[in-house]
């Protein structure tokens, strides 16, 4: 029971990071209809940018926590800029192209980013040194929770709240919602679709960057972070491609599932069951509910 609770809490907290990254993915899909396979590399870039900023700030003698917060803000700003540039250079020309072409552009981007990340930052595992969060876990009702997980959870949840209230209460957020709902109507009412696309990519890069930073704090940064970033795909399939609540619920579910399968199934299927379980679950889930929990069912006419 204690083991279950342990796995449960860690799973939920890990899942919140996936939910954050998936939120960015869903946003891009909702606003511009692009199915983005480069999400793993976006998390990777975010993690590395934050790491370099953090190290240089610490090197300049800033206290650890201020350095980390500043680095996180720097990552968010870099992510926003990168997102705007990527959208302008590569994705804007692909509006209205067939699905395979758009997907392969994002695949091309992922190759490009991956190559660049490894040219700039090398392939060895790098860790945040000095460690940002204290190592000793907090024990609540007999369940030990690593502080990294706890703070990641807090950061992910608060960022998600910021994003969701941004969509609900600001002018830009409302124009994004309008564009996602009916692009033609939004255009005729004076919403700039280009601006909305650019904003969506910027926000996705920001969310992925923060997600990559948090994942890097948990396990260290290497290529496997981009594999974790790819886990957004089972998440969004589970929640429904164009549902923001679906992304959040799906993220937490997949994190939970991953942790529980790692804890309980690993003895029967040794090896990487933890990495594979979300994908197996996704295939089975697709057979029964192809549009996810809250995705829009598409009705086709000939």
């Amino acid at each position: 029971m204690e083991m279950f609770l342990q796995l449960f809490t860690t799973g939920v907290m890990l899942g919140s990071i996936y939910a954050l990254v998936a939120l960015g993915w869903v946003l891009i899909y909702k606003c511009s209809g692009v199915l983005n396979l480069a999400m793993g590399e976006l998390t990777l870039i975010g993690g590395y940018v934050c790491l370099s900023l953090y190290q240089s700030f610490v090197g300049h003698g800033l206290p650890v926590h201020y350095a980390f917060i500043l680095a996180l803000i720097g990552t968010i700003i870099t992510g926003l800029l990168l997102g705007l540039v990527t959208e302008r250079l590569f994705l804007r020309k692909m509006i209205g192209e067939p699905i395979l072409a758009v997907i392969m552009v994002t695949v091309g981007l992922s190759f490009f980013f991956k190559g660049m990340v490894f040219i700039v930052w090398d392939t060895d595992t790098q860790v945040f040194l000095p460690t940002v969060f204290p190592i000793d876990p907090i024990v609540v009702w007999g369940v030990a929770v690593g502080q990294v997980y706890l703070w990641s959870f807090v950061a992910a949840i608060s960022l998600m709240i910021i994003f969701v209230s941004f969509f609900k209460y600001t002018r830009w957020g409302l124009s994004m919602q309008a564009c996602a709902d009916d692009e033609m109507a939004a255009l005729s009412l004076g919403v700039s679709a280009k601006f909305v696309y650019a904003l969506a990519w910027g926000i996705a890069f920001m969310a992925a960057g923060v997600g990559g930073t948090l994942l890097g704090n948990i396990n260290g940064l290497n290529y496997s972070v981009s594999m974790l970033g790819l886990l957004v795909l089972p998440v969004v399939v589970f929640g429904g491609l164009n549902s923001i609540p679906g992304a959040i619920v799906g993220g937490i579910t997949i994190g939970l599932l991953q942790n529980l399968s790692g804890g309980y199934l690993d003895q029967y299927f040794p090896g990487g069951i933890k990495e594979v379980a979300p994908f197996v679950f996704m295939v089975i889930f697709l057979l029964f509910k192809p549009f996810g929990l809250w995705g829009w069912e598409r009705i086709e006419r000939v």
């Binding site: 199915l35 396979l37 590569f90 020309k93 692909m94 192209e97 699905i99 395979l100 072409a101 997907i103 392969m104 552009v105 695949v107 091309g108 981007l109 992922s110 190759f111 490009f112 980013f113 991956k114 190559g115 660049m116 490894f118 040219i119 795909l233 089972p234 399939v237 491609l241 299927f269 040794p270 090896g271 990487g272 069951i273 990495e275 594979v276 994908f279 197996v280 996704m282 295939v283 697709l286 057979l287 192809p290 086709e300 000939v302």
Partner: protein, 375 residues
Amino acid sequence: MSYLPSGIYHQSYEAEQTWWRTPFIKGKMIFMVVALLALPHVVGAQWVSVAYTINYYILAALGVQLLIGYCGQITLGHAAFVAVGAYCSAMMVLFVPWPKFLVDAGLAYPISVICAGIVAGLWSVLFGLPSARVKGFYLIMTTMAAQWITVPFVITQYVSRIGGRGHYFSLPPGTIKVGPWEIDSDTKVYYLSLVLVALCLLAMGNMVRSKVGRAWVAIRDNDIAAEAIGVNIIWYKLLAFFVAGFFAGIAGAFYISALSFVSPEHYEWFYSLLWVGIILIGGVGSIQGLVFGSVFVVMVFKLLEMGVLGLSGSLMETYPQLGWMTTKFIFFKESAFGLSVIFFLIYEPNGLAYRYWQVKNYFNLWPFSYMGKGA
């Protein structure tokens, strides 16, 4: 698809669908076969290995072209089926107690190639089953899942451990024998690949111009309309997955003869995407495009390798701190591939095959090129 030289008209559909419609095309093909057969005696040893790599990519991307270009089922996990073929063939050659006469006749490896194709085809059908219910992005997800489940999990964690050989199977010299020939040199590997490519392209070409191919194209263009005119879409989709997996299995089984070992890192997700990139660069829905794409990608990689290695070699004497360029060469390769895919999709979405078609028609219709435009 393509225009004939001026003044040639066919009277029947058979004449229009034949392989060699004019003596000129026949002569061109014969010239091509002779040139390909003579290739290893003309060029240096490193280019022979480039040539069989091209052939391997053609074989592997053939199934991708079938699924994406002809049947409209997007797959991003084809390396999984190539891996299944490679492992199946290697394990059959190594572990099956072959009767003496079969080994002496050099039939063990050819039989294993065919079995590898069938096993990979069935494995592919297993992951094609969701295509009965889902399509588009969701199908991409299931094929990706095929990649993640097959290569990093089943093969790396379980299949590679069979026989206690550790991470990979190595094939001792002499085990790969086709008929009287032992496949032990690059030239022989090249000829083997040439035979396999010829057979597979022939099979593919015949399939796409028959009833099966027309059904696939109907499904690609609009699956609901295809169903309405009486095409059994589930059956034909699964058939497409089987045939694509079969070709992939043959590709995998062929490549072990070139490598003489099998290890999971040759079947990573990168390769699945690479093969999709090849057909996009070459041209979707065209067998020629597949060949052009493979040649383009392999040659770009090779030239990049020569360029980067040559450049860093000469620069290193004056700037020793540039040594990272050689160690990180593979990342240059990946970035260049990613960028070339993006640029092809943005600026040349019809692929190289379309350019070739335009150039060919310009000469076919010369000097009356204006006749070909709209008509």
